[in-house]
């Protein structure tokens, strides 16, 4: 059927085709060359330009057609029986299309589409037709004969939105020379005088080709038009060459469309889970909240949402991320090479940005997943200048809990929601102001006598101002609040409510100067933290609980930074940055002093000092050096080295392997020192197969000082003097990360393998403060082998397959080694910390997406998504635990998803 239609269209086309283009005589021997070579030859010998997508012509060989002496004849024969069509306009533009034929009308191209093809695609072809070809001159032609290179800089912006475009590849094929635009869209080239043919390319934007006659230094600003962007979705990243040009190693962009392609667990697209498909990122366990970056603990990751800190990033104790993927624009994970403008955490920065509302049309969408329902509305308040975006998501079911084989959990109730709102105002080209708000909330009733409630509230104001084309500032003022309440009704007359709260007000000023070879960033980062470590209040009138409120903590955390990115030559660029951070806690506060001869405990207190309000209790400060070098080794590979120092002034009090939303935050104080991390990393990046496949290898070594661990069995809530339970720990981590990625074409894949080790060593002086005799021991995140493979195969527009496989070495655990009887009870004596390992983790997921008939005029476009989570039904061990059974100790393993979980999703687009 398909073939018949194709042929039919083909003959229609044949009939309509004009013969005017037969003037392009092919005089060279083209036999048995690849199509790309053929195009290159044709473009250089004839006044023609070809437009096509690389993946369409992959493997296409041009045979020798005996009767053909001109271009049309060759293309006619070549494309016969394939899905490809072509069109030649009067200007010599040859536009190749796939599955859609263009009518050969030279001026106003009308698209002839077959009824079962998507309209968006036809639209893109229409736009592609208008591919920009610019002819520009810089300088006076009389200077043409002068020797030496001249510099050309410029800014690349989106013609539609006026937004600067970072990551655009600027490339001069003949010289094998190029650049990539920086975060504000700037690029810099140093070229000899003369005529150059420069390509500007970026995924999702139509390619712009400039024929530049260069006689003197100057500026060349380019506006690129977007192609194929269905509204409401964002196509970013997949920047093919950007990996080579970036200064730092260890940076990963997560694209939202790519994210949506992954098999989603229970239909929820999850930005945090997708991080696990980045080498060097590991999860603490299936369905748990925290993630570990290069062996760091979960609280060493800073999550920024539109530049504001988010303290809790999970719903339902970690099963789902707290971010609604409908509002996300992009996310960048800095696991190494953290730019000086970011700081405050040791291991990584996850910089998430949300998209603006549509400035032209009102729009909205709604949907119902197996667990959540969501609604998004957006549109202009003032056309082209002011827009809004509101999104909400909530659970309507907690059937998932019923699956967990634990009676207390089975009888629990879980509910969560999150809301996002954003107002974006661009009064003119030079100013962008946005006001955004985000909140998330969870209610979790555990076994009917304990109620957990927790959530974030974030409010932010952001102003970007372009002073001139080379100077740009951004100011962010934000307030973020995280709190949890635990209500406990288990003991009559002792019902209580326990509250923990952290509130951070932040001001950030970022300045960016672009000056040709140099790009200067500097700024200020100020945070005011207010922390209520815990309050313990009677829940009702009959409760005899004495209200108690722990000493509040107040602190200022500030930093100034400056950094220079220098393009020293075509093959070498460098970044040198310094961040100087300072932290002060101030009163009112009472600090206890202890005898140094004994471990700190209530009975070894020797005195105390009370600080009055505003008096500085303790200050810490220090420089953080960030430096990197990038060597370009030809057009398809590069080598980078970098060094990072990071400081962290806040700790999450946790003595379990995974973090829980009810863990408390703690600011550094007189006894709890700031964590310091040093990371040395190097990476090698290579593009293969016409730059379609990206391979990378990175190595790192990390050193972390002054981490906090806690004495065994300690309760970490409502602890007034945490130093009594503190076990100071040092950490080190090293690893090798290999990845291979193909993000375009019919067959796409992403393969990552990480070999890494992470160790810790306690540095305490007393027995209770020493773990494993003070020797190095594997930390809870030490999982040496981590392999993931995802593959996506687009069989046709209507059928696609995705498979994902993960293998991870088992988590280290502590096992019982002996038992003893004490007061008629049996207790366990445990092995050295993390001496043993759980069985390995292995999981295969599959999903198939079948699209219904894609008729444009249809109201809705239905599709089916069939997926199987854990296809091999492996009983992956979530945890191992030991229970006393009379006089014996018995070990059990718990698997949360111990079987294959098939799901069928029916959806439709409208």
């Amino acid at each position: 059927m398909k073939l018949i239609i194709s042929l039919l269209v083909f003959f229609l086309l044949l009939a309509a085709r004009s013969t005017a283009q037969e003037k392009y005589t092919v005089s060279w021997d083209y036999g048995n060359t690849s199509f790309r070579e053929f195009v290159d030859k044709a473009e250089s010998s004839l006044p023609v330009r070809f437009f096509f997508r690389d993946e369409w012509i992959e493997g296409l060989i041009v045979p020798r057609f005996r009767t053909c002496r001109n271009l049309t004849c060759i293309l006619e024969n070549l494309f016969r029986g394939t899905a490809l069509y072509y069109k030649i306009d009067d200007a010599g533009n040859i536009i190749i299309t796939r599955e859609i034929a263009l009518e050969a009308s030279p001026v106003d191209a009308k698209v002839v589409y077959r009824p079962d093809r998507g309209a968006a695609f036809a639209d893109s072809v229409m736009r592609q037709q208008k591919t920009q070809i610019l002819k520009l001159e810089i300088g006076r032609s009389s200077d043409a004969g002068l020797p030496g290179n001249v510099s050309v800089t410029g800014k690349v912006t989106d013609a539609g939105s006026g937004e600067p475009l970072p990551g655009v590849t600027v490339y001069i094929e003949k010289m094998k020379k190029g650049a990539v635009t920086n975060a504000q869209g700037w690029y810099f080239l140093s070229l000899p005088r003369g005529e150059h043919y420069i390509k500007f390319s970026f995924i999702g934007m139509q390619e712009t080709r400039v024929t530049l006659k260069l006689y003197g230094p100057g500026e060349m600003n380019i506006r690129m038009k977007s192609i194929l962007i269905p509204l409401g979705e964002t196509v970013i990243s997949a920047e093919r060459n950007i990996v080579l040009h970036r200064f730092e190693s260890g940076i990963e962009k997560i694209s939202v469309p790519e994210l949506k392609m992954l098999p989603a667990f229970l239909g929820e697209t999850d930005i945090i889970k997708s991080l696990l498909l980045v080498t060097g990122v590991q999860s603490a366990g299936e369905g748990s909240a925290g993630f570990s970056v290069r062996g760091g603990s979960a609280d060493q990751n800073l999550i920024l949402l539109d530049n504001a800190t988010v303290y809790n990033y999970s719903h339902s104790f970690g099963f789902f991320s707290a971010f609604n993927s409908e509002v996300l624009k992009e996310a960048t994970l800095y696991k190494g090479g953290i730019p000086p403008k970011f700081g405050g955490r040791i291991s990584s920065i996850l910089d998430i940005t949300t998209r603006d509302g549509n400035k032209n049309d009102f729009g909205g969408n709604t949907g119902l997943g197996p667990l959540t329902a969501h609604l998004t509305i957006e549109g202009p308040l003032w056309k082209d200048t002011l827009s809004y975006l509101f999104a909400g998501r909530a659970t309507y079911s907690d059937w998932l809990l019923g699956l967990i084989k634990n009676n207390s959990i089975k009888n629990s109730k879980a509910f969560f929601y999150d809301l996002n709102g954003k107002l974006s105002w661009s009064p003119d080209r030079n100013n962008r102001i946005s006001l955004f708000a985000y909140m998330s909330r969870d209610r979790f009733a555990f076994a009917s006598n304990t109620l957990y409630e927790y959530g974030n509230k974030v409010l932010g104001l952001n102003w970007k101002h372009f002073w001139n084309s080379r100077f740009y500032t951004m100011f962010t003022l934000s307030n973020t609040n995280f709190s949890y309440d635990i209500r406990q009704y288990a003991v009559p007359r002792e019902e209580y409510i326990m509250t923990h709260r952290i509130n951070t007000t932040a001001f950030k000023a970022d300045f960016n100067h672009f000056a040709g070879m140099h790009e200067l960033n500097y700024g200020l980062d100020l945070n005011y933290h207010k922390l209520l470590p815990g309050s313990y209040l009677p829940e009702n009138d009959s409760s005899s609980i004495a209200p108690s409120v722990m000493q509040r903590e107040n602190a200022i955390e500030g930093a100034i930074y400056a950094d220079d990115r220098i393009r020293i030559s075509d093959w070498l660029s460098a970044e040198a940055g310094l961040r100087y951070s300072l932290f002060s806690t101030f009163g009112p506060r009472t600090v206890l002093f202890y005898s140094t001869a004994y471990p700190k405990s209530p009975s070894t207190v020797t005195g105390e000092r009370t600080f009055s309000a505003g008096e500085i209790v303790q200050s810490y400060s220090g420089p953080e050096i960030r430096a990197s070098l990038n060597f370009r080794l030809g057009s398809a590979s590069s080598f980078k080295v970098n060094y990072n120092r990071t400081r962290q002034y806040i700790h999450l009090l946790s003595n379990s392997a995974a973090v829980s939303p009810t863990d408390s935050w703690k600011l550094c104080d007189s006894y709890l020192k700031p964590e310091r991390g040093d990371q040395y990393a190097a990476g090698f990046y290579q593009l293969f197969f016409n730059k379609k496949v990206e391979a990378s290898a990175e190595v790192y070594y990390k050193n972390i000082r002054d981490m906090a661990d806690f004495k065994s069995g300690t309760m970490l809530t409502l602890v007034e003097n945490i130093e009594q339970d503190l076990v100071p720990v040092r950490g080190k981590a090293y690893g090798l990360e290999l990845s291979l990625k193909k993000t375009q074409g019919r067959m796409r894949y992403n393969i990552g393998y990480t070999w890494s080790r992470t160790f810790a060593r306690s540095t305490g002086l007393f027995r209770d403060e020493v773990i494993n005799n003070g020797n190095w021991y594997p930390s809870s995140f030490d999982q040496p082998h981590d392999l993931f493979i995802t593959a996506h195969y687009l069989y046709s527009r209507r059928l696609s397959f995705t498979a994902g496989y993960t293998y991870i070495t088992g988590r280290p655990v502590t096992y019982p080694v002996s038992k003893y009887q004490f007061y008629n009870m049996v207790f366990i004596h445990w092995s050295d910390r993390n001496k043993y390992r759980m069985p390995y983790y292995s999981r295969l997921d599959l999903s198939v997406k079948i699209n219904g008939k894609l008729k444009l005029k249809r109201l809705a476009h239905p599709y089916w998504n069939i997926s199987v989570y854990n296809l091999l039904a492996r009983k992956n061990v979530y945890s191992v635990y030991f229970v006393r059974r009379y006089d014996m100790i018995k070990g059990y393993q718990l698997s949360i998803f111990g079987t294959a979980i098939p799901s069928v999703t029916f959806g439709f687009d409208f």
């Binding site: 269905p230 409401g232 239909g267 549509n358 009102f362 729009g363 969408n365 949907g367 997943g369 197996p370 699956l403 084989k405 003991v491 007359r493 313990y536 005899s544 004495a546 004994y598 209530p602 009975s603 379990s656 392997a657 995974a658 065994s712 069995g713 300690t714 027995r767 020493v770 502590t814 019982p816 080694v817 002996s818 038992k819 003893y820 009870m825 049996v826 366990i828 004596h829 092995s831 910390r833 993390n834 979530y878 945890s879 635990y881 006089d887 014996m888 070990g891 059990y892 718990l894 698997s895 949360i896 998803f897 079987t899 979980i901 799901s903 069928v904 999703t905 959806g907 439709f908 687009d909």
Partner: protein
């Protein structure tokens, strides 16, 4: 209106998900460490200190006493009392010489011959805090569902208060004694007393409360279908004062007894107490040297509880009709002798527990029973 791509509903199959399976880890070591169970009180009588070692997880054995030790206790006035060995692993104070006094501090010391020579162990100085008397022990009837049937049991509570607001940290131990009777008239031993000591950590911190008052601390639930509440039941409770350090120890111990190893559970580690090795301050010594004032109280329960299970149902294994002498041989016991009724018959059991209460208790009536 813009075009958009959205997901609409959805249906999902889930077969079964989570599962728990037995897991036997491969453990390559057997670390036997010293455990100390020492308790001195302000009551006259012997105070004992037990010193033993932990044992392999996979044995059902528990005793691993240390045989040779010199054990002594010193107080803050410089008095030293050497303890006397009464059996392997157990040393006691001389009841005539030694009684703890609230307000004083005590240090336990002992020497033991280890692999690398003689080691001296000592506790940190422990101060004895006074303890108030137990105000009351009381119970409420509580209904439980046992094999789909409602059964009444008892929830026992304890109240205490310290007018001086000084104790704040409490620990309790209890011992249950109950009289039980085999419901067959002709068994060899019919009435006995059962005994059981508490097997859980019972501690309470009142420093979060307005006054140093414990009201309705749930001490014990009797839900068991055995015959504890059928005749007469007695709960003896000992209330100990704790220092904050000792309370901390018990609480940490309690936290590690809960299921450990889960992702949100604490990373397990042995809880060490207040005893250190002088030669190697890092050596792990388990257990605790407790110094507590103690008060005790007893509570009897004689009440009717609905639906109590008849433990001796189904005891009859054989019925012999007639009056002829019977020789059932070894392993048969008479339950009821009806040779003088009509028809003459005798009931026998094959299960000695049905005929001899001394298998579950003692025939000796406790002195406090009346």
């Amino acid at each position: 209106m813009m075009m958009n791509s959205r997901t609409w509903v959805i249906f999902i199959f889930i077969t079964t998900a989570g599962c728990v399976a037995e897991y036997i880890p491969e453990i390559r070591e057997n670390d036997e460490v010293i455990v100390v169970k020492g308790l001195i009180t302000d009551q006259p009588g012997e105070n004992s200190v037990e010193i033993y070692r932990s044992l392999s997880i996979w044995t059902s054995e528990f005793r691993n006493p240390i045989k040779k030790c010199t054990v002594w206790i010193t107080d803050d006035l410089g008095n030293t009392d050497t303890l006397r060995k009464v059996q392997d692993g157990k040393w006691v104070t001389d009841s005539a010489e030694f009684t703890g006094i609230p307000g004083r501090s005590y240090v336990l010391s002992f020497t033991s011959l280890e692999k690398d020579g003689m080691h001296t162990y000592e506790s940190i100085p422990m101060k004895m805090k006074p303890v108030p008397a137990i105000d009351s022990i009381y119970y409420k009837k509580k209904e439980f569902i046992i094999s789909h049937l409602p059964v009444e049991g008892a929830q026992i509570y304890i109240d205490t208060h310290d007018t001086g607001d000084s104790c704040r940290f409490y620990r309790w131990e209890y011992e249950e004694t109950w009289e039980f009777r085999i419901p067959y008239p002709d068994v060899i031993n019919r009435t006995c007393w059962g005994k059981q000591k508490s097997t859980e950590i019972l501690v309470k911190n009142t420093s979060f409360l307005e006054s140093d008052k414990v009201s309705g601390f749930p001490l014990k639930v009797i839900t068991n279908p055995v015959d504890r509440l059928l005749v007469k039941y007695c709960l003896s409770v000992w209330q100990y004062s704790l220092t904050e350090d000792e309370f901390d120890y018990w609480q940490r111990l309690q936290n590690t007894v809960k299921q450990v190893g889960g992702l949100y559970d604490v990373i397990p580690a042995s809880v060490t107490g207040n005893i250190y090795c002088r030669e190697d301050r890092m050596e792990k010594v388990l257990g605790y040297f407790s110094v507590s004032a103690v008060k005790s109280k007893r509570r009897f329960i004689m009440d009717n509880f609905r639906g109590m299970n008849m433990l001796y149902h189904g005891c009859v294994d054989s019925t012999v009709f007639g009056t002829d002498p019977v020789f059932m041989g070894n392993g048969w016991w008479l339950l009821i002798d009806y040779t003088d009724s009509i028809p003459p018959r005798r009931y026998y059991t094959h299960d000695r527990v049905c005929a001899d209460c001394t298998l579950r208790g003692t025939k000796i009536k406790p002195a406090y029973w009346n």
